[in-house]
């Protein structure tokens, strides 16, 4: 059981301000995902929680105790690195037992713990192998095993799936979800730039941009009620369309956001529809994307299945009512009237 509380946390390298006034309350047993574009500070934030980066100002509390100055090994955390950071010259057994050995545990209990974890992760047959003799997925499991064996209250994951190929990534993602269910009391903080991982794994997502927290919320909250233009554009694929000018003014806002899946495309004129010419279409099989050049810029629409609309055609686009997002001049969300 461990909750993590970040208050006004700042981090800078010389003149470069990496993290700006981060406030965050992570509940015990929660699965939190940090997402954001590269360079947004999400990894730095994770490494600050871990203790690998010193905090410039603000406080970091784990379980109510301020741990700003506490070295990583004393914070009760475990970290799974992007590269897994397996010690290449040590066997799987030694890799998993290294932390226990440093805690000064006796041989017998180390052995017992390592074997238990190995069994749980189906690593028992590989305990004597070196990391280079393992497959990508097995290495990933060893890295997780190293975290589990320490009985840490908090798990930190730094983009753990980015080194796996697409198929394995889906499988491992599900394994992590399963792991979380098996360890309901363990708080997990997970960094990724992949929104699919974020949406599928997280209890709550933290969206970061340029060192600031843009929004914190459950995956569906972020999808349905993005707090600002950035979050609205970052979550969802293809990206949300943003329209300014007449249609936005008609809706009483500065910027109108419509997701591609919430656009009706019609070959015949629609009342209040936005007219445009189809620039090109992409047919993916399960769905199709239609790119339409309008007076308000390029707008993307998503159609189910195979679209009948073809390139060069004149079309009208109309948002499905109730699914538009309105933003003010500062990009902040305006609640639906």
């Amino acid at each position: 059981m461990a909750n993590i509380k970040l208050s006004n946390l700042n981090k800078s390298y010389g003149a470069v301000h990496i993290l700006k006034d981060v406030n965050l309350d992570i509940k015990s047993g929660e699965f939190i995902v940090f997402v954001g574009p590269s360079g947004c500070g999400k990894s730095t934030l994770l490494r600050s929680i871990c203790g690998l980066e010193a905090i410039s100002s603000g406080t970091l509390e784990i379980d109510g105790a301020v741990v700003n100055e506490v070295p990583p090994s004393k914070r009760g955390i475990a970290m799974v690195f992007q590269s897994y950071a397996l010690y290449p010259h040590m066997s799987v057994y030694e890799n998993i037992s290294f932390a226990l050995e440093n805690q000064g545990l006796d041989r017998a209990s180390i052995k017992q713990k390592v074997e238990k974890v190995a069994e749980m992760l189906q690593l028992t047959p590989y305990l004597t192998r070196l990391p280079k003799a393992l497959s990508g997925g097995q290495r990933q499991r060893v890295a997780i095993g190293r975290a589990i064996v320490r009985g840490a209250k908090v798990f930190l994951f730094d983009e753990p799936l980015s080194n796996l190929d697409a198929a394995l990534r889906v499988q491992t993602r599900m394994e992590i979800a399963k792991l979380k269910r098996a360890m309901p009391d363990t708080t997990m903080v997970y960094v990724t730039h992949d929104q699919v991982e974020a949406m599928t794994l997280a209890d709550r997502i933290v969206v970061l941009q340029a060192g600031r927290v843009e929004q914190v919320g459950t995956p569906m909250e972020l999808y349905e009620k993005p707090g600002n233009v950035f979050v609205a554009g970052f979550i969802g694929s293809p990206k949300m369309n943003f329209v300014t000018g007449d249609p936005a003014e008609r809706a009483g806002c500065k910027t109108l956001g419509i997701r591609p899946e919430h656009l009706e495309v019609s070959a015949s004129s629609l009342a209040d529809g936005i007219p445009g010419v189809v620039e090109y279409t992409e047919i993916l099989g399960s769905d199709s994307f239609v790119y339409v050049a309008t007076d308000y810029g390029m707008i993307t629409a998503r159609e189910n299945g195979r679209t009948a609309i073809s390139k060069g055609q004149k079309v009208w686009l109309k948002p499905v009512s109730g699914y538009v997002h309105r933003f003010d001049g500062n990009g902040k969300r305006l609640d639906t009237p």
């Binding site: 990583p72 950071a85 290294f98």
Partner: protein
Amino acid sequence: MWQRIRLEPSRFFLHLAVLLIVAAWTLPTAGLLVSSLRDKDLIATSGWWTALTTTERSEQARMKPPADQVQKDGHSEISGNLFEGTDHAGQISAFGTRVQNPAEFSAGATAQLQDGRSLTVNSDGSYVYTSPTAFTGDRGQRVFFVTSVPPKFTTDNYRTVLFSEGIGRSFINSLTVTIPATIIPILIAAFAAYALAWMKLPARGFIIAVIVGLLVVPLQMSLIPLLKIYNATGFLSKTYLGIWLAHTGFGLPFAIYLLRSYIAGLPKDLIESAQVDGANDFKIFMRIILPLSFPALASFAIFQFLWVWNDLLVAIVFLGSGNDQLVLTGRLNALLGSRGGNWEILTASAFVTIIVPLVVFFSLQRYFVRGLLAGSVKGG
């Protein structure tokens, strides 16, 4: 990638050119090795490249004095063997009685000389000298002859230098100097390199800059001040400890530079992971850094070993030139002075001094080359 470029006038010419260069580079060493195995008289009289051929050599000897003559069939006769009393044997191909023409008669023939005397010399050196009148005088007649000496190799030279010229003793001295002077700087430099690569340290950049600067300081600069310190302390002067520390000091800039660039290139995640795992820096160093840096450590070890083994200057300044202190290079230098013309001693001694580096070099060439590349291409 070269094959595709039509740079070659002809393959033959290319092979020939490389062959010539390689020959030019290996012949001097080959000459030394071949000579060190030859008989000492042969080294001084014929080129080493003739070692495999039978050489002709003009020699002379005296026959037995007239006192040994016997009377036979009304003649006076002296008989014996020209090689008697000498240790070498050979095949006599021709002989003569005048220095101007040592090959006047072929072996086995009977030479008719003045006063009715005749001389027969066989190829095995036996001779019969007859005269119608009695021989007079008290010294034997001189005979000149040409022997053909078959190729002959020997390890005598090595036996001589190892046991009576002090090379054996120096060999042990060299090892005593070299082994610690290789291991100590590796340890010290590896710890320092880790500190400079990964630990939080004030003035780290400055220390690294100083070390890079020290890379090129000629060690001649250090000799006088160090000698003063050594003489003042006493326990360092002319001792092994003194020379180990000297070699360590001189080798450190390169060692730290080489090892730091290697250790700094190890994945950051590994070290951080070990930190999260609760290992302190000493443990990280011993368990993670040291095993993973093996290639760099090996490279430097070879460098330092060769450098210390081959060094002359530091050894003669800091270890002195006493008989039981001379290292191999110093001994060889001394022999060059005292035995300048004795090629059998010089060549064998030189070969003893270079054999260890050559073995090290050939067995560990891979690491050596890697170290060279790491140390130089990156800017040292």
